[in-house]
């Protein structure tokens, strides 16, 4: 986005720099008083999130920045979305569909939520089906939603077995070759990847994005 006005550039900068108060005040003014095209404002948010994602990848930003960025995006989105009128322009094309959930027996979701957020701001269509997800639910969701990637999350060591069972059920249902499976969570490593039969694992949200990009043939 090179064709930005000074004000637009300012919004992107404040969002990317975690200057929440100023960024939200400016976004509200642009949307509610100046009646700017809400699609344009959301586009600016996405540009800011690109910078946030880059800073995270480069080790300048960490989880707190991702969480705050997610919250700012949500606040602006909640104001902007009801203002979108027909003809304001469509949403950017998504790179692919990622179904994500925490496997059965495990109730943890902080990591999963951050991965969902990072995939979303990187242009993937994400469907998060929550925690403690039974094998059957994964299969039903896959059948109806047809994802390109399935992400299994788990924090406890019991998740090793749940992930293995879930992936084995994909095999039995004859759907295993229709999508890629990535796993992640506090205790996940290469040993667990091999044990469960997943295609890959990631230690953080950036790795999850990189995996999906690679599988979908999207340039970084």
């Amino acid at each position: 986005m090179n064709d930005m006005t000074d004000e637009e550039r300012q919004l992107v900068e404040w969002l990317a720099d975690m200057n929440e108060d100023d960024a939200l005040a400016l976004a509200k003014r642009m949307l509610l008083e100046d009646k700017k095209n809400p699609m344009r404002v959301l586009e600016l948010c996405r540009a800011a999130m690109d910078i946030v994602g880059k800073r995270f990848e480069e080790g300048e930003y960490f989880l707190p920045e991702l969480v705050l960025a997610g919250e700012m995006l949500e606040t602006i989105g909640a104001i902007a979305k009801p203002l979108i009128k027909l003809g304001d322009g469509g949403e950017a094309k998504k790179h692919g569909k990622v179904l994500i959930g925490t496997v059965h027996g495990d109730l943890h979701d902080i990591g999963k939520n951050i991965v969902s957020f990072m995939l979303d701001i990187n242009g993937f269509e994400v469907k998060d089906i929550g925690v403690d997800v039974p094998v059957r639910t994964f299969i039903d969701e896959i059948n109806t939603w047809q994802p390109d990637v399935v992400g299994l999350s788990g924090f406890l060591t019991l998740a090793f077995e749940s992930m293995k069972e879930t992936i084995a059920a994909f095999e039995s249902a004859g759907m295993r070759d229709k999508f890629k499976v990535m796993i992640g969570g506090g205790q996940i490593d290469d040993t667990v990847k091999n044990y469960t039969g997943a295609d890959a694992f990631g230690v953080n949200a950036v790795e999850a994005v990189a995996l999906c990009r690679r599988w979908m043939g999207v340039a970084a």
């Binding site: 960490f62 989880l63 707190p64 027996g105 406890l156 060591t157 090793f160 205790q187």
Partner: protein, 416 residues
């Protein structure tokens, strides 16, 4: 084993831990047995039985200790047999077998915002009042009704005489009844623990720690603000958070020191959740996490206690910072931090503990466990590292017994 022999064995085992702490070479590498729900697998019972049946849990724990003959043991009963106490107090921050999770699943903490962002001022101004009126009823059903207690500071003269009538309020009365019942169960539970640890001591097995603690940052993040609430506070409520962290360091010390002293064991186990490399920037770590924790460490060391933080996940980038403690006073237990790297940076400052990987222990074969122990012996113990061998955060619940056996056998085979 007869009593004098058991007593001598106890002294010998405890001396190994003491030597590690003092950075002296023990006669052999000590091995710890730390377990939570692994005992259920080992004993062939459900997690629910382990949480509710004091006698059965003690019996299984004793069997495990006698089978593996560790140098130190965790508070095996206290860590898991809390079902009746949790029920009696109506604990809301945990889901446990029969209360939100299945009979054969471990308990799980519910990460929520138990303190709202706009409650910092109240908590900082009057922590006890905040606990009584707001926090306790929020986290435990037994305390529901305490909201109606009066504000104690400010009561005086006839206002004091008059305000005592709050205790006649039926909700307050009912709350007290519930708290008494919870207290009785908690006391029963505690006596089982005391009796079990005394029995283990009489058989020759010292405890790894007398009590537990928490870092000020983790205390607020885990039990008050919740993970995401806390992360947002780093930007939105920065100054208040720093003020609260300072205050928390003081009142946590007031909690921990007398409990540790009463236990007769100087080691304070402090599981650390929010220090990992990935969770915040080095600058955030040095601003928000480390200063109040260091204050606590020094506070414990100053009264002769031995802090034993368990640095969860990977804390490699923190090693240079957390090195700033007096030498020979702490045990640093690492979960995923490379132990060889930890030894290189911290070997002349602290004893080390850990860290066989959970994936290896649960899914690997005994010969792989053997190789992993050998790796730690070759690269840490034999290089002069004062290592207490253990799994990354104790035995994972699903660890096959043969892998536990391999861990203990390999320790004896390679390190005395």
């Amino acid at each position: 084993m007869n009593a004098p022999a058991a007593s001598a064995a106890y002294d010998q085992r405890w001396q190994r831990i003491q030597d590690c702490i003092n950075l002296k070479q023990p006669d052999r590498m000590p091995v710890a047995l730390y377990s939570t729900f692994w005992l259920a697998k080992y004993g062939g019972i459900t997690c629910k039985q382990l949480m509710y049946d004091y006698e059965k849990t003690k019996e299984i724990a004793e069997r495990a200790v006698l089978e593996f003959e560790p140098d130190v043991i965790s508070t095996l009963l206290l860590t898991v047999a809390s079902g009746r106490s949790l029920e009696a107090i109506g604990f809301k921050q945990l889901q446990w077998p029969g209360h939100g999770v299945g009979d054969n699943q471990p308990f799980q903490y519910l990460d929520r915002e138990y303190m709202k962002a706009d409650e910092y001022d109240e908590f900082i101004f009057d922590p006890t009042g905040y606990y009584l009126h707001t926090y306790l009823p929020r986290v435990a059903e037994a305390f529901e009704g305490f909201e109606e207690l009066p504000n104690f500071p400010g009561l005086h003269y006839f206002r004091l005489v008059g305000s005592v009538r709050s205790f006649a309020n039926p909700r307050v009365r009912a709350a007290f009844e519930n708290v008494f019942k919870a207290a009785e169960e908690s006391e029963r539970f505690f006596q089982h623990h005391v009796q079990f640890m005394a029995r283990m001591a009489s058989l020759g097995y010292p405890a790894t720690n007398g009590t537990t603690g928490v870092s000020p940052y983790d205390f607020i993040a885990d039990y008050f603000r919740g993970a995401t609430g806390m992360m947002k506070d780093l930007f939105r409520n920065k100054d208040k958070l720093l003020q609260l962290l300072d205050k928390v360091a003081v009142f946590l010390l007031r909690q921990i020191i007398p409990t540790a002293k009463a236990s007769g064991n100087p080691i304070v186990f402090i599981p650390i959740h929010w220090a990992p490399d990935a969770f915040m920037s080095p600058k955030q770590f040095e601003t928000f996490w480390w200063p109040s924790f260091r204050k606590m460490l020094i506070g414990l060391i100053d009264v002769g206690l031995v802090p034993m933080p368990l640095w969860e996940a990977d804390c490699t980038k923190r090693l240079e910072v957390i090195k700033d403690v007096p030498a020979g006073k702490c045990i640093y237990w690492f979960e995923r931090t490379d132990m060889v790297k930890a030894f290189e940076v911290l070997g002349d400052v602290v004893a080390l503990r850990g860290n066989l990987s959970p994936s290896l222990l649960t899914t690997g074969k005994p010969d792989e466990v053997d190789a992993a122990v050998k790796h730690l012996v070759d690269n840490v113990w034999n290089q002069g590292g004062k290592l207490i061998l253990d799994a990354a955060f104790g035995l994972p619940d699903e660890t096959p017994v043969e892998n536990v056996r391999a861990m203990f056998d390999a320790a004896r085979k390679y390190a005395g």
